[in-house]
Amino acid sequence: MDSVVLLRPVPDPVEELELNDDGSDLDRDYLGYVLNEFDDHALEEALLLKEATGGTLTVLGLGSADEMEQILYTALAKGADEAIKLGDELEHLSISSQAEIFVSALEGRSFDLVLTGVQAADELNGQLAVRVAAKLGIPHVSVVVGASADNGSVKVTKEFWGGITADYQIQTPAVLGIQAARQAPRYVAVSLIRQAQQGGDLSETDVDPPPDTSGVRVISVRVPEAGEGAEMIEGDEEAAATKIVEIIRSAGVK
């Protein structure tokens, strides 16, 4: 089972987001980026598939954030066979453009599965997995929470809601939008990442940014008013604890 995983950095979800001066975008100068958490799960699922079935695992990274190389070396340290950084100086790409770049990189490659995160927090114009599948003319399944390979066909579990799931048998090659891997993404020792860096097994492919065909333009962004529903408790943790106990009691909880 040969797999390719598509990786994208996104603004760190635990950081406070600030806007630029004209309110048209985030202020990206000081943003920290991390691997999109769903892409991390896609990588984990691909590693599990490789362990079970053999085959090759290639990771493609798209994004100009400084963190991209670190993300790719981490993937190599975890067990990817090949890591390719696509382009440089590529910023604010729509999902349509991202799909186009990934598809160009996939063309001419032989693979059974492409895996990527089911969504990213800034994915304004659709699902990368589905757009890549549509461009390649191959099937897709989104919100996948597990995959297994058996006699040349792939079985995936798709999650609906309330924990309801359905199993699908899917023809390959196919693209999977991963919600969660069967197990939490593995940790890898820093020494192994350093070893991957020293091995220098990262290749780069030049990419010309394609014209944006998404047809979607952001006019303005804003931070929704925080706390408009909540009565904010002031003071330190001791004062807060006293107040919270009062609220708990008045809510009728013993």
Binding site: P13, V14, E16, L17, L26, E37, Q119, D122, L124, N125, G126, Q127, V130, R131, A133, A134, P139, S142, V143, E159, F160, W161, G162, G163, I164, A166, D167, Q169, Q171, A174, A180, S214, G215, V216, R217, V218, I219, S220, V221, V223, E225, A226, G227, E228, G229, A230, E231, M232, D236, E237, E238, A240, A241, T242, I244, V245, I248, A251, V253, K254
Partner: protein
């Protein structure tokens, strides 16, 4: 969209949104109903003006490429196409956009038609709201659940119903092998009166013990937001939100939960919501009744001490 033989709540929410667009533009609301043995469900869709039904055994279960292709064939020259931003909608919306070339806007909470077609979207897990516009006069909008009242889409009279034969000539490339319901665990969070709910801010699996101690003191249970369940730190049956369970406890106390739209969907009707987060911008404070900005690990020991002494 249909799940286990019933129309989803989201279907009615979309009809309510579509009605609002149609009223402003002088258009009509057309609902696409695709499944097997589902024609009777058209009677519930009186909020639409017209219902196009594809009732065929091939669609007994949701098929990612099959449903995408058939919905794609039904949209005709509609100018506004609304798709739910749900598990099924994710497979459908982007595929229709790719094949039709119509722009697609995700994470929508509201559609606007004044001065061109556009939408309001929630990005970065609800931390940022964006106003966007689309090129041209046709677009697909993937709408977040809970963006409109489902009751607004239930009202209405009898719509015109049109039966259409399965338009697909393709062989479906994915086959549904079966549907599974979640297995019941030791705790049913939907029947607990008190939930202590942990999010990404709990930082590690080991720290969940502190939340459990608090839950024990309050006679409740620990639940979690999606990242916690995806990490495997809590079982799937402890997940609150869109892909988890909907809960309405007497007390909902969140620790380090940012409040992504899909989480809020599962807990917004709790009687009393108290939220603690280090980020004053966390969207959870928009739905909580009480909030404190600070470190949960400073607060937890204080809270436990006070409850033990109380």
């Amino acid at each position: 969209m249909i799940c286990q033989g019933e129309l989803t709540e989201t279907s009615f929410e979309l009809i309510a949104q579509a009605r609002s667009v149609a009223t402003q533009t002088g258009g009509r609301v057309v609902a696409g109903l695709v499944g097997s043995d589902i024609t009777a469900l058209a009677a519930e869709l009186g909020g639409a003006d017209r219902i196009v039904v594809v009732d065929d055994p091939a669609f007994e279960n949701f098929s990612p490429d099959g449903h995408a292709a058939v919905f794609g064939s039904l949209i005709g020259d509609s100018s506004v196409v609304l798709v739910p931003y749900t598990s099924m909608g994710m497979d459908v919306a982007s595929a229709i956009s790719a094949t039709s070339g119509m722009p697609l806007v995700s994470f929508c909470t509201a559609i606007s038609v004044d001065g061109g077609l556009g939408a309001t979207c929630q990005l970065y897990a609800g931390k940022i709201e964006a106003d966007v516009t689309v090129d041209g006069d046709r677009a697909i909008f993937a709408v977040l659940t809970g963006s409109a009242s489902a009751d607004g889409g239930r009202s209405g009279g009898a719509a015109e119903v049109e039966q259409v034969d399965n338009p697909l000539e393709m062989t479906l490339r994915s086959t549904c092998l079966g549907i599974a319901e979640p297995e019941g665990g030791d705790v049913d969070i939907t029947s607990e009166e008190v939930l202590v709910v942990v999010g990404r801010g709990i930082e590690s699996e080991d720290n969940i013990a502190e939340a459990q101690e608090l839950a024990d003191l309050l006679g409740g249970a620990v639940a979690g937001s999606r990242p916690i369940i995806d990490q495997g730190w809590l079982a799937k049956d402890r997940q609150v939100g869109k892909s988890g369970l909907t809960v309405k406890p007497k007390l909902y106390l969140t620790l380090g939960v940012s409040g992504a739209p899909e989480h809020i969907e599962g807990m917004k009707d709790a009687e009393t919501i108290i939220s603690v987060n280090t980020d004053p911008q966390a969207p959870i404070f928009g739905v909580a009744h009480y909030g404190w900005v600070g470190d949960i690990f400073d607060l937890l020991p204080e809270l436990v001490d006070k409850l033990e002494a109380d």
